[in-house]
Symmetry: C2
Subunit: 185 residues, 2 copies
């Protein structure tokens, strides 16, 4: 394995493609590993750190992992890291409904990447985008993209060029890229 | 350690007192262990099994653990095992608000105990009580007791005698007690 090859532990082809495209610019060859890592309950940081450590141990080499949260301000940051379970069970409509009692529809999309080598502490890279939760708009079917609005457009209404300029995932990947470039000189 | 002594891994004195009282009738001496066990994300069963296995390994003897869920029917069972995080962040009012968009306020209170010996598979005992979510009523300050109504009264409006006849925790402990009595003859 070359020192510029990194394993991305994910079972989500969309996330892999996005990360691969962004990291290839800095000469990093990203390969996916679909390893089953059970996520813990906790804060965004605790969940990502734990996942990164166990992934690095299982694979026996440097890995990156990712966790995505949707944090409703009116719900003090929840559903946060549990949003995937809500999305699976009640869909985007159900997520929007969770805010029916509140005028405040603001939310933060948070993406946290972690880089970890076996036996070392993970290093975290967080991207955060502030927006609001709306009734679904747009053709995108990726997660909760249709209900997250940023400056008048939902993620699902943006093309990937537009979205990548402001998305929580892009911001996190930019930080990771900058760090990898510095590390590898 | 006598064969009738069992460790209950919990940091909640209320849960310990309740379990101790119920299990003492069957000659089981319950002692608490406040061991930090990180909970995983998953189904009720997955979370309880995982916690029981790791607690038994850490303690090196038979343990019981418990997990409590509040499952809103309109939200397809959520917040479920994540209810503790919602309760902590947004309180009972916030939990009630999560159902503002729905006429269906029905919910299920689910308590799952697991008995586990090191190296063995956990055995699960589930208690489930069907009720509905209401605006807080009653003096009880135990978790979400004030917003869970069963046949006209919230848990918080019931005395412990009333509550113990129908509560999800009592039903689960009854099953555990019956199993322990059979096991110990």
């Amino acid at each position: 394995m070359s020192s510029r090859t990194l394993f991305f532990v994910t079972s989500n082809p969309g996330k892999l493609a996005e990360a691969k495209a962004i990291l290839s610019a800095s000469g990093v060859n990203l390969e996916s590993k679909n390893v089953e890592i059970t996520e813990i309950q906790g804060t965004i940081e605790e969940i990502t750190r734990d996942k990164a450590k166990r992934a690095a141990e299982q694979i026996g080499g440097p890995v990156i992992v990712e966790d995505t949260c949707l944090c409703f301000d009116a719900l003090k940051g929840l559903p946060g890291p549990y949003v995937k379970h809500f999305l699976k069970e009640i869909g985007t409509r159900g997520l929007t409904n969770m805010l029916a009692a509140y005028d405040d529809k603001t939310a933060q999309a948070v993406c946290t990447f972690a880089y970890c080598e076996p036996g070392s502490e993970p290093i975290l890279f967080e991207g955060r985008t502030k927006g609001k939760v709306v009734r679904a708009r747009g053709e995108g079917s990726f997660g909760w993209d249709p209900i997250f609005e940023y400056e008048g457009s939902t993620y699902a209404e943006m093309d990937s060029y537009q979205k990548n300029k402001i998305s929580h995932r892009f911001k996190a990947l930019q930080k990771l890229t900058a760090w990898l470039e510095e590390k590898h000189g």
